[in-house]
């Protein structure tokens, strides 16, 4: 979980930008020693933290229902994998389904909002209301109205994940270079052509920033919604298992569930960052490493 940044960084070095005034300069590469250190330092840090944890638990004789040692947590993770694995799958399903709908819905709504200022005037207040109302507060209502608990969880996660995609993409669509818009007008581009060839590519960096936020938020919202559903959460995602472990004072399993959630979040962040990097590395300022 500590090496998520390595992929993008290494790829970045290979596709390094030529300096602005020297066309097609050779790509400078990172020295080998630095690359090794970039992997090594986070790993050493992680090992030290786990060591400290193990030492503290052993030295002060902490009971396992307060703080289990790392060995016990790993044992629990392996022993309870049938239960936790199933729970992880349920949570992942909700997270990714919510994220997918948020991406499609967010982009579609952003296009709609920027296409007409009347639509924007009519809809944007409700977008804001939807965003600023804490999802825990509306979850009970959604649980009542939704056809199933799973659907309710999905709606909760979607509400949270959808806003960053919408607001970032809207901002991107509005930030198109005015001269390029003139150019498209000059060459008689249709609205559709302007959208496909100009506005959407120009909004891509903004959308990808939204995607990175939305990916993390979708997981958080899925967990929060499961908490809100509480005992109704018979679908048993990770959050439900977490609560259950707490009630039963099965703290090692609680830690195992927590670690799974944490790892999932980190992987989602890593994957969305990688997607963003791959899409922008050839042209966008954010992906360029400068020498000076």
């Amino acid at each position: 979980m500590t090496s998520i940044d390595q992929g993008p960084v290494a790829a970045q070095a290979v596709h390094e930008a030529a300096h602005q005034d020297t066309a097609a300069a050779p790509a400078p590469t990172m020295p080998v020693s630095e690359r090794i250190l970039r992997v090594l330092i986070p790993l050493v840090m992680l090992a030290m933290l786990i060591g400290l944890w193990a030492w503290y638990v052993a030295a002060y004789n902490i009971p396992k229902y307060i703080l289990p040692g790392p060995d016990l947590v790993v044992q629990s993770l392996i022993k309870d994998w049938p239960i936790l694995g199933m729970a992880l799958l349920v949570t992942l399903k909700i997270t990714f389904a919510a994220l997918a709908i948020a991406l499609v819905g967010g982009v579609a709504l952003a296009i709609l909002l920027t296409s007409s200022k009347w639509v924007e005037l009519a809809l944007s207040p409700y977008m804001v209301i939807l965003q600023v109302t804490p999802v825990v507060a509306i979850a009970p209502l959604i649980l009542i109205y939704a056809p199933s608990t799973q659907a309710a969880l999905l709606i909760c996660a979607w509400i949270v994940a959808f806003f960053p995609v919408l607001s970032n993409t809207t901002q991107g669509l509005k930030s198109t270079d005015h001269n390029l818009l003139n150019l498209f007008e000059l060459y008689g581009a249709s609205r559709w052509q302007t959208m496909i060839h100009l506005k959407l590519p120009a909004a891509l960096p903004y959308f990808l920033a939204g995607l990175r936020i939305a990916g993390g938020l979708a997981l958080i919202a899925a967990v929060v919604a499961e908490f809100a559903a509480g005992s109704a959460g018979a679908g048993s995602g990770l959050a439900f298992r977490l609560l259950e472990s707490q009630y039963r004072l099965n703290i090692p399993r609680l830690f195992a569930a927590l670690i799974l959630l944490c790892a999932t979040g980190v992987v989602i962040y890593g994957v969305t960052s990688l997607i963003s990097h791959l899409a922008l590395r050839r042209w966008h300022e954010s992906a360029i490493r400068r020498e000076n």
Binding site: A17, Q20, A24, L183, L186, G188, L198, P201, W283, I288
Partner: protein, 273 residues
Amino acid sequence: MSLATSSPPSAAPGRPIVRLEHVSKTFSNGTIALKDMSLSIGAGEFISLLGPSGCGKSTALRMLAGLGEPSSGKIVWPDAAEKAAADKGEGEIGFVFQEPTLMPWATVFKNVWLPLRLKGISQAAARPRVMEALEMVGLDKFADSYPRELSGGMKMRVSIARALVTRPRILLMDEPFAALDEITRQKLNDDLLRLWEQFGWTIVFVTHSVFESVYLSSRIVVMAARPGRVIDEIAVDAPHPRGIGFRTSQAYGDYCRRASESLLSAIGAADHL
């Protein structure tokens, strides 16, 4: 390029391609950007609109391109087919902005392909024309580069190639080299002049540089600000091809003095710069 054999296009300006008839433009905030401008642009002419900022030269150029309508007066394209083409912005007009205005996410090739792509011409079908345009500006080796990998001058060349790819009959250039350093600018001026001598397009070139306008043009339209208007017209009859010889000649100096005096007389009493 066989420069020696090319005839000087300015010697015989053809029939008018487009006429501005008493064109005025007032912006919504009340600013009079352009007042009562009349100008006839003949085929094969190289016309410079020379003036200080705020004299309406860019406004006039944008209206020629169909970006914005005149508040009064009209722009007449004598040939109906040309008018139709100009309205649709297809083929007849090439426009070069002050900034290169390239799409940063697209390669040089795709940037130049854009005007053809918008007309539905596939990448394969457009390839010969795109490469030809890139060759004209000397960038055929950089087809697969991204704009950020190029220098300022090279970006401007790409922008020119994109304007040329539709084989326009009239090329509109809005202070295209104003942001470049002097050396790059001189090189691009020379290159532009060679291309014009070779292909005989009609060019309308907006600039605030007296020296640039005299060096390039067959006719200089001198404009003044507040309100934007035409104050003088100077025909530059120096023969082509022009080069370092012309730039250091007595005639060049005379034309420059004439244009500068014209500009100064307009600034004169009314404005305090």
